[in-house]
Symmetry: C5
Subunit: 354 residues, 5 copies
C-alpha cells in the first residue's frame, strides 16, 4: 500500500549535505548497471565496484549508469566526488522522501521524481524515488530498489530501435521520464477499473466494505496527486529548455511527455471528482436504506401495536360476554382490527408520512 | 454512455512516434472524402486509396480531406509521409484519448478536440476525437468513425453559401470548430431539460432512481468539463493568431467561437452548481421524510403502548371487581386511556419534540 | 422565475452572421424611440420605420435610438447596414442568450449585458438582454421587450438634469449601464429581505417549504452571479478607456459604476455564503428534531414496555395469590413499576444516552 | 447585531453625484470637531457651523476635521465645495454602504473603510463607515455617529506623545487607520473567546442553541471578511505610496498597518476554518447521540418485547399446568426469560450490530 | 496544546513603536548567550547584562547573540538602541503574536518565524515566536523562553563541524531557519503517526473519542498551516537574495530550506485532505452502525410484535376451546407464529427493505 508519509532518518542539526547511513538498510546490496553507447557501438556491464564506472565519464559516447539501492553512503559519496555532484544533491538522492523537483547546475541537471507502478506480483501499487543526474555525456539514475521498469529502454538501446542511439543523453533522460509517465497511465487504468467496479457496487449493494474501498482509493489519489503535480512542473522546466544540456531537437519529445503529464493530472482530478461524488451517493444510499428499514418498522408497529391493544381489550371484555360464541367473535374481531390497521397505514401514506 | 476513462493501447517502452495497430479495429474500413474548392470551382469525391488525395497538396485551391476511421496504420503513415506530418502528431491522431490541444509547427497547425454530440438514434450523448491538420492550402480532418456532423459545412461549400468559398483553409478549420461548439450547445440543451425535469421530480417525489440520475448527470458534466476547458485554451491560441496560417480576417470569427466556448464553459459550471445543489436537496428531503416516518411511529407508540399497558392492568384488576358491569366499565376505561394518550401527544408537540 | 438556460434557435451549420427569424416572435412589433440632443436643443420621437432614424447618423448632436424587440430580422439588418455594424454583432443582438461581453471595433463599441430588475406587477425577478452600440455621436440600445427601466434617463435628458446634455454619447452609455447596476441593487435588496425572513423561519419553524425556498434562492444567486461576473469585466474594460470613443472625463463615472459592480459581486458572494450556511443549519435542525422525536419514543418505550411486561407477569401470578387484596396490591404494583421505569430513564440520561 | 445588508436610499435614475437626504436621519445633529496642530502649537475646538473650519484650509499646520453624522446634505455639500471634493466622493460619503476602497485624486486621497468595534455597553459588535479625505495639509474624517474610537489619537496629539505632532497629515491618516485595525483585533479577541467557549460546549453538552451560536458566529465572520479583504487592498495601495501626499517616512508605518491587516485576514480565515469544523463536529455529535438513543431503545425492545411475548405464552399455558407451584415457577420463568434477553443482546453486540 | 489565538497586550491607541511591559511576565529572567567565532577562533559566554554584548558589534568576527525571554522592555530597548533597530521592529519582537514575515532594512534583515517543536517531556506540540536580526557581522535571535532547539547549531560551531565557521552570519541565520524547518518535520511525523493510528481506529472501532481526536488534529493542522505558509514566503524572499547581506554562496542552502518548506506545506495539505476524508468516513460509519441497530430493532419487532398479538388472540380464544390439550396446542401455536415471523423477515429482506 502507498504510504502518504514516510519516516525520514532523524538528522536534525546535522550540517547540510551530511550523508546519513540508515542502519537497517546498510546490508542492502547496491547494484550498478552500466550501458555505454553511441550510434556505432554499444556496451553493457554489471559493475562490481563503483570505480569501474569512472573511466566512462570522459568518453564522448553516452553513458548510462543505473544504481539500484541508494542507502550505501560510500557508494553515493564516491560517485558524487568523481562526477562533481553537490553534497546537497547527494543528500537528496539518499533521502528518499523528496518532493519531485528539478535543479539546474552549471554542469548537470538534477531531477527527482516519484516512480509509481503497478506490481503484478503483489497486485498493488508501488512507489519509489527516482533521481536522475543528466550530465554532458552521461545519465546517472538512482532507484531505491531493483526493478524492471526501464527494461524497455534498455532493449531499445540494445536493439537500436527508434532514434535513441543517435541522440544525446538528454534524450535518454527523456526516455526514462516518458517510461515513468507511461507507468502512471497503467496505474490510472487500474484505478479506473476499480472505480467502475465500485460504481456498479454502489448501485447494486453498498456495504461498509465499499466505504473502506472508497477511502483507500481516495488515499491513492491523494498520493498520485502529490507526486504528479510537481512532476508536471519538473517536465515543464525541462521543456522550456533553458539549459544547454537539453538539445533543441529533444524539445518536441519533452512537450509530448508534458502533454501526457497534463493528461495524468487531468485524469487524477477527474477521478477525485468521481470518488467524492461516490461518497455522496454512498451516504444517500445509506439514508435511503435506513428510510426503508424505518418504514418497515413503522408499518409493522402501526398495524400490530393497536391490534395487540384491541386484542387485550377484547380479552378483558369477552369474559363479560360469555354468550358470545368464540368462533364467529374471533373472526369479527380479527376482521375489524385488520381493517383499522390498514386504514391507518393508508392514511399515513396518503399524508406522505410513510 | 460517456466513459470517463478509456483504455489505451498498451505501448509502454515503445519508441515515441511508433504507430500501433489496435488488433480489434484492424478490419474497420477507412473512408476518405475529399472536397477541393475555390471561389470559382468545386470538386467532391470519395477516394478509394489515400494516394488519390496526394495531387491536391500542390494545387492552390483549398482541399479538405476528411478521414473517417483512424485505426489503419498504413493509411495514417502514408498521409503523414506525404504531407510532412511529425510522427508524434500521427501517434496522437491514432491514439484517440488525447486531451484537446493545439500544436503549431512551421508548415501546419495540429488541433485535437473532443467532438460531443447527441445521437438521436441512440438517444444518448456520443463523444469522439477529432484531429485537424491545417496546412497552407489544405485541411485534413480525422474522425474516429463515420458520422454526419459536418454535413452542414459540406452543404455550404457545395451551394457556395456564406463566405466559405471565398476564404482560405483557416476559415474552413474555423467552420469545423464552430460546428463542434454548436453541438456542445445542443448537448447542454438536452442536459438542461434533464435537470429541469429532475428538479421537478425532486420536489414532488424523490426516489433512489433520482439519486442515480443525479449521479449520471454529474459524470456527464465532469466529462463535458474535461473536454471544454482545454478546448477553450485551443480556440484562444488560434484566435491570438500568431501563426501565419491564420488570416487576420478570420480573427473575428475565431473570437466568436471563443465567446461561444466561454458560454459553454459557463453553462457547464452553472449546471455543476445546480446538480451539487440538487444532491443537498435530495439528502434533506430524505431526512425530512425519515422525520415524518419517525413521527408516525412515535405517535402510534405514544398512544398505544401506554394503552396496552393500561389495558393489561385493567384486565388484571377487573377480575377483582366482578361487580363492575362490563359495558360501562369498558367505555370508562377506553375514554380515560384515549384522553391520556392524546394529552401525552399534545404535551410532546408543545415541547416541540414531535 | 429566472431560467438558467434558455433554448436557442437551432442554427447549427448556418454560415456565421446569418440572422435567424424566430417564427413565434415574428409578429411582435418593434418599437423604435429616438432622442436627439445636445446642450442647446432636445428632440424626441417615436419612429414608425427604421429609416426615419437614418438622417441622425450624420448630425453632430447625440442621438439615442432605443429599440424594443429584437426579433424582426429586416429591422436589425437595415440598422446594421446603415450604421456599419458587423453581421456577427447583429447575430449576437438577435440571439438573446449572450454572455455579457464587450467588443471594440474601429468605429463603435458593442456591449451586451443582462438587465435584471424586479417586476412589481409580477412580484418576481425578470431578466432580459440589453445590447448597446456606442458610436461617435450615437447610442443604439436593443431591449428584448418594452419596459420602463430607462425612463429616469429619458427624464434627465428631457429636463436637462445633471450633466447628461453637456456630455458625449459615452456618458449616455454610462448612464444606461449605471441604471442597470442600480437595478441589480434593488434585486439584491429583495433577496436580502427574503434571506432575513428565511433565517427567522429556520430558527423558529423549519419546514420542507423552507428547503424549497433555499433551493430557489440558490438558483437566483447562481443566475445573478452568472450575469454579474462578466458585467464586471465589461465595465472594467470600458473604464480602462483605451477606446477613443470614451472621453477621459467619463472615466471617473465609469469607475463609480465599476465600484458598484464590485459591490454587487461582493454581496452576491456573501449571500451565497449565507445561503449555503442556511442549508447546513437546516440539515442540523432536522437531525436535532429527529433526535428529539427518537428520545420521546425511547422514553415512552423504556417506561411502558417493561411495565407492560411486568403487568403481564403480575396478571399471571395474581391468580396464584388470591389472598392478595386487589386494591392495595394494585397500588403496590403500580408504584414499583413506575419507580423501575423512572430509574431506568434516569440511568440512561446519566449515561448521556438520552 | 451586524447586518450583512443595509437598505440603501433608493436613488435609481438620479444623476450621479446627487446627494440624497434620507428623511428619517434629517433631524440628527452633525458634530464637527476640529484639531489644528504642528510641532509648536496645538488648537482644538467644537465648530458650530461648518464655515468655522474653512479658514484652516490655507494654514500650513495640520488640520483634522472630524465630522460625526453624515446625513445632512448641506453640511456635506459645503465642505465639498470649499475643499474641492468631487460630487461622486460626497455621494459615497453619505451613502454609508460603501465597500472599503481608496481613490486617488490630484489634490487629495479618498479612503472609505469599515470601522468595527466592540461596544462594551451593548456587549455587541458595532460597525459603521468611516470616510477619510487626506489633503496636502488637512484630514477630514466622516463618522456615521458620535463615538470615542479616536480618543486615543486626540490624546496623543494633545499631549504631544510619539511623533504625531512632528509629522504631516498622512501620518494622522495612518494613525486613524491603525486605530481601526487595532479595534479589529479586539473584536477578533472577543470572537476567539466565544469560539473557545463554544468548543468546550460542543464537547460537553451540544444543544440546538450551540447550533444557533455557530450560525451567528459564521455571519459575523462573513461580515468581518467582507470588510477586511478590501481594507487590505486599501492599505496596500497607500503603502505602495505612489501619491505625493504620502511621505516616504510614513511608508514603514503603513507597512506595519499592512502587516496587521494581513494578520487580521489570516485570523478571520482561521476562525472560518474552525467554525466550519465545529459544524461538522456538531453534526457528528448529534448522529452519535441519536445512535446512543437508538441503542437504548433497541436494547430495551430486544429484552422486553420477547419477554412480554413469553409472559403472554406462559400466562396462557399456566392455566393448563395448575399443579405447577406459583412461586418457584415464577422464578424459573423469570430466570429463563432474562437469560434469553441477555443472550440476544450479547449476540447482537458481538455482531457489532449494537 | 496549541492555541490558535493568543490575547495580545491591549495597546490600542498607543503611538506606534511603544514597547509595552506585560505585567505578569515582568519577573521572567532574560537569558543572554553569546557566541563569537570565525574560522580561526571561537568564544562563548553567558552575558549577565545586555551591555556585555555591545563591544562585539564592531568586531569583524561573526557574533550570535541569543536572547531567551522577550518581555523585559529595557533589555530590548537597549539592544535596539545600540544595534540601530527600528522601534517598530522592537515592538514586533516583544509582541509575540506576529505572523511570520521578513523585512529588509538598509543595515539588517528582520525575520519573524514560528518555532514549532515536539516537547518530549510534555508529550505535546509547543510553539513560540522566534525573531532573527541579521546584521553585517552579527545575528541576534530572540526566543520566548529558554529551550534547547538550537543546541545542535551551537555544537556545530563549537566543534567546527561542516562549513559554519567558514561562513558569514547569513549562513548562521540559514542554519537557524534550517533547524526550525527540521523541527516541523518531526512534528509532522508525530501527526502522521497519530493519523495512521486513527485510521486504524476508524476502521475497527469508531467512538466519540475518535471524533474528538479528529477535531484536535484538525486544529493542529490549521495552526501548522497558518505558520508554514508565510514561512515559505519568508524563505523565498531570502533565497531570491536581493539583499547584500545574503552571500551568493548561501543561496543554494536557502534553496534547500525552501524545498523543505514546500515539502512541509505539501504534507500539511495532504494531512488536511486525509483528515477531512476521515470525518466523512466517520460520519458514514456512524450511519452504517445506526442502520445495523435499526435493523436489529426492526427484525425483533417484526418477529415479536405480531407474535405477541397472536399470543394475545390465542390466550383469548383458548378459554373457549377447553378441550384443546395444552401441550400439543402450545407447540402448534409456537410453530405457526415463528413461521409467520420468519416469512415476514424474509419478505422484507427480499424487498431489500432490511
Amino acid at each position: 500500500m502507498l504510504r502518504l508519509f514516510r519516516k525520514t532518518a532523524r538528522k536534525v542539526g546535522l550540517p547540510p549535505g551530511t550523508l546519513v547511513q540508515v542502519e537497517e538498510k546498510k546490508a542492502e546490496k547496491v547494484k550498478i548497471s552500466l550501458i555505454d553507447y553511441d550510434e556505432a557501438q554499444f556496451q553493457e556491464k554489471e559493475a562490481e565496484t563503483v570505480e569501474e564506472c569512472f573511466p566512462f565519464r570522459d568518453k564522448p559516447s553516452v553513458t548510462w549508469i543505473n544504481i539500484d539501492g541508494v542507502y550505501q553512503v560510500e557508494v553515493i559519496e564516491k560517485i558524487g566526488a568523481h562526477f562533481g555532484i553537490h553534497p546537497l544533491v547527494l543528500e537528496d538522492i539518499m533521502h528518499t522522501v523528496q518532493r519531485p523537483k528539478i535543479e539546474e547546475f552549471e554542469d548537470y541537471i538534477f531531477v527527482v521524481v516519484k516512480m509509481i507502478y503497478f506490481d503484478d506480483k503483489k497486485n498493488d501499487i508501488e512507489a519509489e524515488q527516482l533521481s536522475i543526474i543528466l550530465g554532458p555525456n552521461f545519465v546517472i539514475s538512482f532507484q531505491e530498489k531493483e526493478g524492471g521498469v526501464f527494461d524497455h529502454v534498455r532493449e531499445r538501446i540494445r536493439r537500436n530501435k527508434g532514434r535513441i542511439r543517435k541522440m544525446k543523453p538528454d534524450y535518454l533522460a527523456y526516455a526514462l521520464l516518458d517510461t515513468i509517465v507511461d507507468h502512471y497511465f497503467i496505474v490510472l487504468e487500474k484505478l479506473g477499473e476499480k472505480i467502475e467496479g465500485m460504481e456498479e457496487e454502489l448501485v447494486t449493494e453498498p456495504t461498509p466494505e465499499t466505504l473502506q474501498s472508497i477511502h483507500i482509493l481516495k488515499r491513492e489519489l491523494i498520493f498520485l496527486r502529490k507526486s504528479i503535480w510537481p512532476l508536471r512542473e519538473v517536465v515543464n522546466v525541462l521543456e522550456r529548455g533553458e539549459s544547454s544540456l537539453i538539445d533543441e531537437s529533444t524539445g518536441i519529445y519533452l512537450r509530448d511527455v508534458y502533454d501526457h503529464t497534463i493528461q495524468v493530472v487531468d485524469t487524477v482530478e477527474t477521478f477525485r471528482d468521481m470518488v467524492s461524488g461516490m461518497l455522496d451517493i454512498y451516504l444517500s444510499s445509506i439514508s435511503n436504506k435506513m428510510n426503508e428499514v424505518m418504514k418497515v418498522l413503522t408499518i409493522i408497529a402501526t398495524i400490530f401495536i393497536p391490534l395487540t391493544f384491541v386484542a387485550g381489550l377484547y380479552g378483558m371484555n369477552f369474559k363479560y360476554i360469555p354468550e358470545l360464541e368464540w368462533h364467529w367473535g374471533y373472526f369479527a374481531v380479527l376482521f375489524v382490527m385488520v381493517i383499522i390497521g390498514f386504514v391507518m397505514v393508508l392514511y399515513f401514506r396518503n399524508k406522505k408520512w410513510l
